[in-house]
């Protein structure tokens, strides 16, 4: 009998009811995260990446809820419907999260050391002095110079990059098995982005943390991901190993994402401002009957507009939700 995967999500649906009907921001999502790997979720803004992450944390904001019979299992333990108490034990201890906005994700009135130490006191039962020493150690581990001094700094005394390092230190303080990083570099300068990505890879190597990396930047997928899931309007449209998906996208949407970042992918050159895919994501209230991407897709056929394609397994771990998948993925 093989052990349960570290994190296994099946049929996750996140949505809420409105007067105009139910709105689903995440639909029927399946996902497996294995120990020590990096899984990227990539998609445009609004595609449901953050809500997926928050669903795992049990922190989906009102009025959204996890609906339907979906399941989120951590080493086999069901988290959907778990008690608040149990979820609090898991958050910050087994699964941690780093957010997009380092400037506003640290509490301005507490020192960064206190904010790290607080987690250690809570989950590891450390005393004040030990927690502080461990916080200094964590600051050191995420590459903050003079950590004995910076431990008493307040967030406003630090740059965005430094604050994101603190967030990462805070998230990793209790050596969680899973780190969810929701666009951890989006709000940062380009040079700082690269440093933070390097730091994530470095801590993953040292601590063996599995990383669920959320991004809208296909360049980051190329740089960091083992496997990738492409989300469009709350649905998986493609998944597979990062290498294969980037080399031979089996969905026109992925192909468009990749085409928008050729420079960097092929040459490893500097990141440019990406040209956009024409058109906009359909409103979740008025989803087209067929493929959600069809209105923007250059290759869409009458069938695409009429009927939504199922997620089709192309090979082991490789799937695409496109009527042309087999043709494209070859």
């Amino acid at each position: 009998m093989s052990a349960a995967p570290l994190l296994q999500i099946e049929h996750l649906n996140v949505g809420f009811d409105t007067a105009m009907g139910a709105i689903m921001v995440v639909r029927d999502l399946d996902l497996v995260l294995e120990e020590g790997e990096t899984l990227c979720i990539v998609g445009e803004s609004g595609s449901g990446k953050s809500m997926t992450a928050l669903a795992i944390m049990g922190l989906v904001p009102e009025p959204l809820r996890v609906v339907g019979g979906g399941s989120i299992k951590l080493s086999g333990e069901e988290l959907v419907g778990a008690s608040h108490r149990r979820l609090r034990q898991i958050r910050g201890k087994r699964i941690s999260m780093v957010f997009q906005e380092p400037m506003s994700s640290l509490n301005p009135v507490f020192s960064v050391g206190e904010q790290i130490a607080e987690t250690l006191r809570l989950h590891e039962g450390l005393g004040r002095r030990d927690a502080r020493a461990a916080a200094i150690e964590m600051l050191q581990a995420v590459g903050i110079p003079a950590p004995e001094r910076r431990v008493d700094d307040y967030p406003h005394q630090m740059s965005g990059g430094m604050r994101q390092r603190v967030m990462i230190a805070m998230a990793l303080a209790c050596r969680p098995a899973i780190l969810i990083a929701d666009e951890p570099t989006t709000a940062l300068d380009v040079t700082v982005q690269a440093q933070i990505m390097d730091l994530l890879k470095d801590v993953q190597r040292r601590f063996g943390t599995a990383i669920l990396l959320i991004t809208h930047d296909i360049g980051i997928v190329a740089e960091a991901a083992d496997r990738v899931i492409v989300l469009y309007a709350g649905r998986r449209v493609e998944e597979g190993s990062a290498e294969e998906v980037l080399r031979r996208p089996a969905h026109p949407y992925t192909a468009a994402l990749v085409a928008c970042a050729p420079q960097q992918l092929l040459l490893g050159g500097e990141r440019r401002i990406l040209p956009e895919i024409p058109g906009i994501v359909p409103s979740l209230l008025r989803m087209p009957p067929g493929c959600a991407f069809a209105p923007r897709c250059a290759r869409a056929t009458a069938e695409c507009h009429a009927k939504a394609p199922p997620l089709l397994e192309l090979s082991a771990g490789r799937a695409s939700a496109c009527w042309l998948a087999t043709e494209l993925g070859r």
Binding site: N107, E118, H156
Partner: protein, 326 residues
């Protein structure tokens, strides 16, 4: 060290400010219409021109303005606030007698309003669509629109006629004997309930609304979501991470109110026959008793300045962004 510096700097500012207040008030009263000599003469039962001149001479009112100002300032510096025209008693003594009553009234009303208002605001912010939250909205509407004397009269009607459990007049029971100082304190507290309540209700409305809005704002902040993501309990998230931030606007407004609340005190003191400074001030204006008025104004200025100092200090303790910058 930084804190000591900041306090020292603010104390220097405060002293300069008080000096300016003394000069400004004196000039203002001097410019006001009405002849104090007439008033004094009126107290003595009418007078002719000769007596008026004598009175002016006796009180130094015939001296040039700058000389009068100098005499006043040099006396104040020695702690002598002058002599009341009306009571014929030292102003310092008159003010001291009543200051305690007013400070007691004003602070108990305001502080209770701040504490209960903040708690109400926090509770209702945790359930923005709950019954308590709607209650706070209604309370703040009523509290805002109801004038303080009206609330006071209503309370008197209620607790003098309907359910007579609180005294509605004065600060102590003159008939009460014995019981020692504890008994007296209880007696004063008993008398304090209604006046402090009617003064406090207006502020309660204001603070509950302010705290609710501020707390709702803070609860939506990214760092609150991050605090939850750490596995902290809801109580720690609300009372440690959110409240400390949400309280900042409350502190700011409390500092401003410390100055304004004395104006409201006049009405409450009148309605409840509370022997405080508000009534003394009102009477002194009618009586053109300028030394007393000046003494009261000076005292109020000092209170406002102390209030601002305390606010500043509280802000520094709560918010490191201020502590570490200036």
């Amino acid at each position: 060290m930084r804190l000591a510096n900041a306090i020292l700097q603010r104390l220097c500012n405060a002293i300069l400010l008080i000096a300016a207040v003394i000069v400004f008030n004196f000039a203002l009263i001097h410019l006001a219409p009405g002849d104090p000599a007439q008033v004094i003469a009126g107290e003595m039962g009418g007078a002719n021109a000769k007596i008026l001149a004598e009175i002016r001479h006796a009180y130094g009112l015939d001296k040039p303005f700058l000389e009068q100002l100098w005499i006043y300032v040099s006396h104040v510096l020695r702690g002598d606030l002058g002599q009341s025209y009306y009571f014929n008693a030292p102003v310092a003594q008159l003010v001291a007698q009543r200051a305690l009553a007013t400070v007691l009234l004003v602070f108990s009303g305001l502080i209770a309003a701040i504490i209960f208002g903040t708690l109400l605001g926090v509770f209702s912010a945790r359930r923005p669509r709950g019954a308590l939250s709607h209650g706070v909205t209604i309370l703040s509407l009523v509290g805002y629109s109801a004038p303080v004397f009206w609330t006071g009269i209503l309370l008197i009607l209620l607790f003098a006629a309907a359910v007579p459990i609180f005294p509605v007049e004065g600060m102590m029971d003159p008939a009460r004997t014995g019981g020692g100082w504890i008994g007296r304190a209880i007696d004063i507290a008993h008398h304090l309930v209604l006046p402090a309540t009617s003064l406090g209700i207006v502020y309660l409305a204001q603070y509950s609304r302010l705290a609710r809005a501020s707390m709702l704002d803070v609860l939506g902040a990214d760092y609150i979501r991050a605090a939850r993501a750490k596995g902290l309990s809801e109580n720690v998230v609300v009372y440690k991470h959110a409240l400390r931030n949400a309280i900042l606007p409350v502190v700011t407004v409390a500092g401003l109110d410390l100055g304004r609340v004395f104006a409201g005190a006049v009405l409450v003191e009148t309605v409840f026959d509370w022997p405080g400074m508000g009534r003394l001030a009102y009477g002194s204006i009618l009586r053109r008793d300028s030394p007393t008025l000046l003494g009261i104004l000076l005292f109020s200025a000092v209170i406002v300045i102390i209030g601002n100092l305390l606010t500043d200090l509280a802000y520094r303790l709560i918010d490191p962004r201020i502590r570490t910058s200036a």
